[in-house]
Amino acid sequence: KNEPSTLKVAAAADLTLAFQEIGKRFEAKTGTPVVFSFGSTGQLAEQIKNGAPFDVFAAANVQAIDELKKEHLILEGTEHVYAFGRIGIAAKSDISVRTLNDLLKENVKKIAIANPDHAPYGLAAKQALQKAGIWEQVKNKLVYGKNIADTLAYVESGNAEAGIVALSLVKTSDVHFQLINEAMHEPIQQAVAVMKATKHREAAKQFVAFLNSSEGREIMKKYGFSIPKEQ
């Protein structure tokens, strides 16, 4: 087996489902196997700063990529926004939570969001709640997941009645999901870049290109990402 040519991609937790499919399709197409390390954007960025051997980093925001750029860790010119994330309200099907205001209901005792301090989806959730003017009211119902996947687990296990999670993760989940209007939060711009230290520069570029190809975009859309128009 030609191990060294395996591509290593660090990817934000919200990409877990979408990238697994992209990986399979990419390998089928190019013959280059891909493996993913999913984690929170912040954790992955820290690891890259300390020499994690990733070829590609797909973050859930732009800041993480910008910071790495400042430290000259990414290959010049490869950084760009590849998708916009969407958030929505997830709830166990037996509780009817459709709108942000439903979160104020008496029977919604706990609301899970990702930690807004370092998880982009958490930040977006916070912004939406603020914009709806209910941040202060729901504040003490909130529980924070350390990443967006953790957050969904809280809802799925019924420990939180509702949560604000990534659209991209609910595909296989049995929760009821209601998308939140994009206008309610700053766009969740997700940036990707090829790492400077990569030993598979071509393959890495190929992967990013595949992500941006129509095939890649289809998959991303399927999992609920919006695609930037200019590309």
């Binding site: 929170s40 912040g42 954790q43 960025a45 820290e46 910071e67 005792k109 706990k110 899970a112 930690n115 301090d117 370092h118 003490n140 909130l142 529980v143 924070y144 997941g145 350390k146 953790d150 687990a153 809280y154 296990s157 019924g158 420990n159 939180a160």
Partner: protein, 232 residues
Amino acid sequence: MEPLNLFPFFLSLKVAVAATGLAAVIGIPLAYYLSRSRGKIADFVDTLTTLPVILPPTVLGYYLLVLLGRQSPIGKFVEETFGTTLVFTPLGAVIAAFVVAVPFLIKSARAAFASIDPNLIRAAKVLGRSDWNIFLVVILPLSWRGVASGLMLVFARALGDFGATLMVAGNIPNETLTMPVAIYDALLAGNHRLANALVMIMTVVSVSLLYMMKRVEKRMIRGDGSHAARKD
């Protein structure tokens, strides 16, 4: 620069103290039971009490979340009866820390109980005391050093728990956000100055703790010495 939010620090202290208290109430009698028995049930309980050392804390945390969560029978019962949930509250953090840390107390207290001269217990029995009274008046005072050293370990481990606490308590700022989680958050948010400050606090507390533990240990040795001298 924002003032340092010390809530997580004090929460961690409170959680660690409470977990230590819980460990004392549950772990000490259990250790005593284990130090006396040699049966199959005791062996089983013994195995059970060591499992938390081996299973990863996050996994432990996840199963605790499911076991005590709001959909679980236990969680439902508690929520209906006391109007509070076990998870996502400081109580959840206490339970998580307790489960992760109590094995260390059990191990240490058990050894301390086992090393008490059985003649002292026999003497107390013959002098008319009940088993419970003997436990309080003879056994605990004589093994308090081992027990104390075990409680210290529990306290330390409880203070430092990340995985289980995060899962069971959620990291709700100013509510269930403990120090280890706060440090982690600060690190991931790129706030290294905050992280370092918090780690400093944590380390100073840890080192003071260790120093206390050392002193307890030394006294223990001295204590033993005086016993030995008496035997001569």
